[in-house]
Assembly symmetry: C2
Homo-oligomer: 659 residues x 2
Amino acid sequence: MQGDQLSCSHTSAHAVRRLPRFDVTLMEHYLDDLRPLKEEVYELFKQHPELLVKEEEGLSKEEHRELVRRCLHVILDAGYSPLSFLTKDQAKYFYLSELLALVDLSLTIKLGVQYSLWGGSVVNLGTERHRRAYFDDIDRFRLPGCFAMTELKHGSNVAGLQTEAVLDVHKDEWVVHTPDDGAIKWWIGNAAEDGRAATVFARLKVPAPDGSGALDDHGVHAFVVPLRDSSGNTLPGVEIHDCGYKVGLNGIDNGAIQFTHVRIPRENLLDRFATVDRSGRYSSPITSAARRFAATLGELTGGRVGLTAASVGVLKGALTIAVRYSAQRQQFGPPDGPEVAVLDYPSQQAKLMPMLATCYALMFAKNRLVQKYCEMKRTKDEALVADVHSLSAGLKAYTTTYVNTAIGVCRESCGGHGYASVNRLGALRSDHDIFQTFEGDNTVLLQQVAALLLKEYRDSFRGSPLMATWSYLKIWAQDSLPANPLVTHETDPSHLRDPSFLVRALRYRTARLLHTLAARLRKHSRRLGDFGAWNKCLMHVLALSRAHVECVMLEEALGAAERCVDPDCRRSLKALADLFALDRIHSDIIFRNDDYIAPEKAKAIQRLIEALCSELRGVAVPLVDSFAIPDHILRAPIGLSTTAVDPYGSYLEAAGFDG
Amino acid sequence: MQGDQLSCSHTSAHAVRRLPRFDVTLMEHYLDDLRPLKEEVYELFKQHPELLVKEEEGLSKEEHRELVRRCLHVILDAGYSPLSFLTKDQAKYFYLSELLALVDLSLTIKLGVQYSLWGGSVVNLGTERHRRAYFDDIDRFRLPGCFAMTELKHGSNVAGLQTEAVLDVHKDEWVVHTPDDGAIKWWIGNAAEDGRAATVFARLKVPAPDGSGALDDHGVHAFVVPLRDSSGNTLPGVEIHDCGYKVGLNGIDNGAIQFTHVRIPRENLLDRFATVDRSGRYSSPITSAARRFAATLGELTGGRVGLTAASVGVLKGALTIAVRYSAQRQQFGPPDGPEVAVLDYPSQQAKLMPMLATCYALMFAKNRLVQKYCEMKRTKDEALVADVHSLSAGLKAYTTTYVNTAIGVCRESCGGHGYASVNRLGALRSDHDIFQTFEGDNTVLLQQVAALLLKEYRDSFRGSPLMATWSYLKIWAQDSLPANPLVTHETDPSHLRDPSFLVRALRYRTARLLHTLAARLRKHSRRLGDFGAWNKCLMHVLALSRAHVECVMLEEALGAAERCVDPDCRRSLKALADLFALDRIHSDIIFRNDDYIAPEKAKAIQRLIEALCSELRGVAVPLVDSFAIPDHILRAPIGLSTTAVDPYGSYLEAAGFDG
């Protein structure tokens, strides 16, 4: 490409060379070991182009919902069993989430609502009896269902939900009721049109054993509540309204549900963690109410893994569009010279290359999470539960916040043409936006990560064995010593790209934030109590969790580079991992404030970042080609694999000009 | 509010006190001296609620365009003359842009297309003859028109446009022609449905005076080209297609126009800066072709002022929604205590308070820009032209990039309810998104700002008088001396909030970036040439421009605080300005790398930022109430002025429940 000369020829001072072109097929195979499933699924939609949303057509929500339903049936009719994936082959379920994100993000979420949330709650919170009764009907979408947790006034604070399920011992029934408007179930997917039943989260109340007639409130539990009859009419006592148009995901029929004394059989309590007998006696194998509640919520971790996978899928698509477009779009140039590709401008590289590096790191970290999740499900190893909880919460929060911003930058990188609906960046952003909020608000999830890190940190002082994976305490002991002035001032690129420097720097930051957070919480809690102290340190808490996630990402990215046997692919993977780490080190003032890096080292890092951006620009197109998103799935005319050959051909046709 | 205690009681260590409640009416009046116009215009829409887009209804683009047309006629029928505002009372024109942004951003842009772009180009690039012929018809929207500059392959690089206007001397006509698909006029507002004529930017070509029959290309000029007859049919040689759905602004009928040898009279050249006589001789009062082209583009500055005003208007609306919602939405709380308003959490404050501070600073900087623009138009003072060009480019770029991110943060701050279309944050973001790109891509505009700063800097060495306003050279001479170690280490809040520290710090940064940029460009241009050197330093260039804009913002924000006579209002304004400056100082590593502030000072600044966020939280609601956006204009149920009283009432009604 003509601009290469501009961007690559002046970086010799930083020992950055041009990256070798690698074999895209080799890279694609290295990145993706479930490719046959992808090819099968995407082939289905090649046969049904009429089901893919054409962003340029301005669908109504009803039309969009109908398309999504038909897409789901195409998958089911091809013989896939999403609920079996979810229970037996989770890696495939998460892979499907990621794949379908670029078919239609509403389809991914429809799948999530029906299988991960509705199906998952029945299977994981219920017992064998529930599984027998519902599994096949849920799997085949003969029994579309909802996950009715969130209420109008209660979202993140699940323990504060107000919907009630009161046992009527005489009739052996629960009476499910919405006590006030604030407790109306809100945003419930599948509710507005399709849902025939729902897992409803409600406060379980039974008569107190003392016979006083008072009710004992055992807190929030899950119940299966029928919503509609076979003709689709709502059942008595159930009032449902459509939540209306949303910023995105309008292929999902979200609704609001109000229950007025709805009666359901006692057996409809999903009773894996707690049960109520014929006499109304409540019992649970888990004695602590807090731990019981945590076990219930813990079963929902899978949803976050699926969202992380889908979010990474969206980022891959957005980057494919932005990088391909930027590589062929030309604008300005030297006096009397031809125009230059916009990707040759350092400003465009600074936008897109760190994003490409982050995308790869997220992809590898997500793979690790999926692997751990499957291992946890297979081995039922208790020790893995906290690890998976922490990683799924942290990675879901980090990924979805990052991708939300990234899609916007991709749109802007594509200039005016990025604003055409047909090029999909707007819809991807609008559809993805809510990923930051649902299945755990990101700010809340990050706090859970920090809480787990702190617990482990404190346990270590009480003599518990440290979890091998994240022994920040050891790192702190090693690296919190007065920094070695030689290292602090070392600016040679070979040092700056040395994995041991990069990993140690990110670990140092996490260890340091953890250590000081523990001390600050101790200090403040004396005066403010635990809740006050936590809030006092909240920004510190969030910084710790993000730092931790970036540690995981870097280690996975470096590990993936190291394990890659093809030397050309490996060099690109290593450059991406280095850019990711250096970008984070450079942008966090903590390293300077602690004098972990001297000013001249900070400046050397800045120069190296610019050089790496320029170096990666040379392989940016193959790096997105390696995501191997077929044109009929990507659809955006400015981002197709043929764009380099005929940049505007399909775009002109889309607008109505002769091609 | 119950959470006040949490957020305000533990900050004594940093000498931050609770801010006094101020009188909202006093603040409103201080902020806004054109209030009667606002009240009149908003009253019109109170009479026509049916014209306001209901985001929850999923309008087609055709329906939306029709609403926008009707809104425009409401304004015209009420006797307003937008084109007279634009030519005689620009402050009112820009104020209208801002006001209408919250009615419907498509309406602001429709106004911009018809008056600022189409009308403005006729009035400012044409001569008296054109003004006489078109003024009234444009003003009354009897002659809807377009501004046909951008082409499919040519956007930012206006000089590279390919559409041609070749003079046919025999017939005394221009032949306007699209030479290839890449030159099709693209994204042209008013083109798809309404446009009857257009200002077309095309390469002016006349027969060479040597009689050889060759054509002289005089570069890009503006021509009035009729597009449709009075029945709305396109004229011969004009092919127009609808650009289709866009990410937002679907109330604007953007189209793509292809010209095939379209003939127009010679007089249709807009000939203020250059003319062609009956014999085909080209002449211009400006001898340099580059300066002539600059003069042409310079007349378009007003568009950027209008966009800046509208963008600030959008930010006010988004913040009003997010702050009011966050002040009443409760979630979690201390053990056995009531839930706490989410705005009491430092994480929520960290999202919203710096944004509120930035919004105020942008508002004051925008006022200054409007004032300078009007002065330039009134006095025709040449010295003001470069100043206004620089400030309008810089502020448009800074504001629209900032607001784009900010709306997303507001959406996320409102959790799931922020995702309901009815609450408008999605549409505001989607509509506003393209502000970053049109009327000058932000990355390109920032480069113009830097180029002007550099020019002034270099001129100063050649003995030209410095423009008084931005004499960074003097600052550099004063503050680039080895920093006074006492000041570098000073951490007392009274020092950190001293305007002289804040202003000097931001000026130091700009001066330092300017000085080092000039040196680097000198060095690199020897080997790389000017174009190569500029690109080599591009990230430095962009940092300089942003630093400059932030200087302007801070000086205006501090000035506005100082001039405010009411002491309670003044204290809030001062706290906002301080937070804005400290936030920027803290987040830019340059201050640490230059040892302009010592590590302990950086940490003291971080603590002070958290304390100011907590302090401002106490007046956050009055600070958005002071924007005085009436409920019937804001419309978002979760953000109404009544939200504090009945948080979810109108929201429940919107979903279909009994109120």
